[in-house]
């Protein structure tokens, strides 16, 4: 029965991917039945309280964004103290990834891929900065700090106005300049 759940789900997964469905074989590895004729239980049920601190991802719909808010002004101060050493005072000087500018360069001989020129979703900024930045102290920023630095980066990239407040409500609504810049894998494209 569980196996048929996987099979059914796979069919749906495929339909949504536009791939022809293939019926899965019985994926069960054939564990011996216990004395009641059932399958041995593996793993331990996870409670919602246990899941919460692990569940740090943020989706394009905004699912996963915490309470809190940030402004361009707060972000400017924070960027100068915690980000500028790697990304430069205005986010373009490096030495690490260029974060600002580059719009309309994607067809150029040397494209400049930044948040403003390349990133399709603003929510990705929360997911990434919250989990991985600053590089030498990941997961050290508060939600307000993450929202603030996002506000500053989006303002520097001319995506939002200087007085915009970034929070769980506003962030998913932001239309990124390169939102329609991606296509599904068409390969094999070279023969």
């Amino acid at each position: 029965m569980r196996s048929s759940t996987v099979t059914r789900a796979a069919g749906l997964a495929l339909a949504s991917l536009g791939i022809a469905a293939v019926v899965l074989g019985d994926a069960r590895p054939g564990w011996p039945a216990d004395e009641n004729g059932g399958k041995e239980r593996i793993g331990r049920p996870a409670t919602q309280e246990e899941i919460r601190p692990w569940n740090i991802d943020v989706s394009p719909t905004g699912e996963g964004l915490p309470p809190g808010r940030g402004t361009v002004q707060q972000g400017s101060r924070l960027f100068a103290t915690k980000c500028a050493a790697c990304h430069g005072p205005t986010g373009i000087e490096g030495p690490k990834d260029k974060l600002v500018g580059g719009q309309n360069t994607l067809q150029a001989a040397k494209p400049v891929k930044t948040i403003g020129s390349y990133w399709p979703y603003a929510t990705t900024l929360y997911d990434y900065i919250n989990r991985a930045m600053p590089f030498d102290a990941p997961q050290s920023l508060t939600p307000d700090e993450v929202y603030s630095v996002i506000a500053w980066l989006l303002f520097q990239n001319k995506v939002i106005a200087e007085d915009m407040v970034i929070d769980a409500h506003t962030l998913p609504q932001i239309q990124m300049p390169n939102r329609n810049g991606f296509v599904a894998d068409p390969r094999p494209d070279v023969r």
Partner: protein
Amino acid sequence: MNRRKFLRQSASLMAAGAAALILPAARAEEAGPPRDPMRVPGALPRPYGERSPFEKQQRLGGAGPGAPHGWGANAPDNYNSLTPLQDLHGIITPSSLHFERHHNGVPAIDPTRHRLLIHGLVEKPLIFTVDELERLPAVSRLAFVECSGNTWDGWKDAQDYSVQDTHGLTSTSEWTGVKLSTLLEAAGMRSEASWMLAEGSDAAGLDRSVPLTPEVLQEAMICYGQNGEALRPEQGYPLRLLLPGFEGNINVKWLRRLKLGAAPFMTRWETAKYTDLMPDGKAYQFTLVMEAKSVITYPSGGRRISPGLHEISGLAWSGRGRVTKVEVSVDGGRTWQEARLQEPVLPKCHTRFRLPWRWSGQDTVLQSRCTDETGYVQPSRDDLIKVRGTNSIYHYHAIQSWKVEQDGSVRNVNA
């Protein structure tokens, strides 16, 4: 007194005197091996083996497209290391020489404290310890893992590179673990689930969205074993995701969480990075499969050969299945001969090919091109660039050219 007992006693005597004396054994080692190894008792067994001190092959540090390779002065910025393909035999990559790519260092993880959480669109969210996973029915398979940035310098002008520089971000291991389907079945995957976020417990918290296609549901593994022992820390100790044939980055290492969802999560790694920019300014996204690719590893860049008989040898692989044919050209692509494929020839795995060749001493260009079981033929560099331009960074898989100069030196060229 038998020999073993004598040696053991001598060893403990020496250990006792170690504080005050220079050990005779240590002196012998410094002096190197004896002139005649038949006239001196050899070394005793040891708990964990190491290669002969005469063997010096090593990984090569790397730091991105165009950056110089090496250790030492470049080390602070190294974030990958490349496998010495020119020095390896057969198809397996020794675990110590498996390439590395990590996004904020290799985490130190105590396996007794590590947990894997499966949640999201499942009936019952579950937590597993590593021990519990190791108790479950397991599978092993050989598979290559290739960084989609492998050969990224191929898009640009050819540098004075060895095959380690050009192709060293691919390795093959025997991987052992639990099938993903086993865990999804236990958690009860819900019908609306079509994507899965996989997340590592490194300082990058690397996260990728995995499409739950039949191929993934059939083949994906949660691995704890590599070449018969536990995963190396650089390859994800204690747990990694293995998606045979898919780009290295999505084979998430230090795996701590799988979250099922109804859409891709659009992480930085599948939007800002690991997308392939085309000449029209659009980028391919979720280009997961590694296409058919091959390279001659002997002779290759940096070697010098003499006229006479050589066995051309190399590796071929495809993320779409088995390699069915490798052709070699010893005249810059004018004519092609079929190479012998060495068994085993396995799907989504390095395959070794060989072709005897007599070098006349005239300069020439050596190339290999492989075909996989879908009929796909590895393209020429020109054909690849015609479609994709030179700015897509990832997924360069064109035919590699090695120029053999009249003096026997071999170098990397864009033929």
